[in-house]
């Protein structure tokens, strides 16, 4: 449970930081998205409670996710500062978001069919599978957005960010095995591995991009000097 909180806190820091760069999001679209989320979460909780498998923890965590989405969405409506973005960055984010959504969607579909055709022998639980799909989607979005310089705050401190992501990713991979209770928990392992591999990949991409940017900047400088 504690690693879920850690993951959410870290992710929320970066998401909120990136959302603050944008202009105010359209109110209507945010409210419709939140309404859809609340409706489907309510159905899922209703099913679990009706079947007698629902617990207070599951309701609280689900409500927590909805509140988290609400904070991001409503925060985007009312607190966007509108600084430092242009049309190219907007398109880059849009492309990254669409492709990440496509990857996540196809992963979920694949996971569902693989599980369905394995006669109940699929080793990963629904929880672990969903975490893998979600983390892959998030990592895909961040990598694609950074490749196209969609966020200035990341671009300006790319090397430092790459070290942070790389280090955090490695820590998650290392701690994915056995926890403090010395018991292997497949759900925790799958979650931390998915998260760790994703973040390590992000760190690696940022490192490569920062090296490429430095090289391009020196070529550009030499070019401009020769023109002068």
């Amino acid at each position: 449970m504690s690693h879920i909180v850690d993951i959410m806190l870290l992710q929320s820091y970066y998401i909120l930081k990136l959302r603050m760069e944008d202009r105010n999001m359209n109110k209507k679209t945010v409210f419709v998205a939140l309404a859809i989320l609340i409706a489907v979460v309510a159905v899922l909780i209703g099913i679990s409670l009706a079947s007698g498998t629902g617990t207070t923890t599951s309701v609280v965590i689900s409500a927590g996710f909805v509140v988290f989405a609400g904070i991001i969405g409503l925060g985007s409506v009312y607190t966007g500062f509108g600084k430092a973005y242009d049309e190219r960055m907007l398109k880059a984010r849009s492309d990254a978001a669409f492709l990440a959504f496509l990857v996540t969607l196809m992963l979920i579909m694949c996971a569902g069919f693989i599980s369905n055709t394995s006669d109940g022998a699929f080793p990963l639980s629904l929880y672990a599978t969903s975490m893998i799909c979600a983390m892959t989607g998030i990592s895909t979005f961040v990598i694609l957005a950074d490749m196209q310089d969609a966020y200035l705050s990341i671009s300006q401190k790319r090397f430092a960010n790459s070290i942070s992501f790389f280090f955090l990713g490695l820590v998650m991979i290392i701690t994915s095995g056995v926890g403090t209770d010395r018991v292997i928990n497949l759900d925790r392992t799958a979650t931390l591995l998915a998260m760790g591999i994703g973040w390590t990949a992000i760190g690696l991409e940022m490192f490569i991009k920062s090296a490429a940017d430095r090289k391009a900047a020196s070529v550009e400088e030499a070019d401009e000097e020769s023109e002068a």
């Binding site: 242009d86 049309e87 190219r88 398109k91 310089d149 200035l152 671009s155 550009e220 401009e224 002068a228």
Partner: protein, 64 residues
Amino acid sequence: MKNLKLKSARAALDLSQQELADRVGVSRQTINAIEKGDYNPTIKLCLSICKVLGKTLDELFWEE
């Protein structure tokens, strides 16, 4: 396709990519992407760049 006309016009005014970007109101990466041919700017951005560089659309963005 690289936009060498834009690069030349910028160099003629002794502007760096960052300086041009600041005057136009976009990021340096956007100016770089336009010059390298990696991004097709909208007409609005094209006009902003033309105003700053004192050139017409044909002079900067017409493909020959």
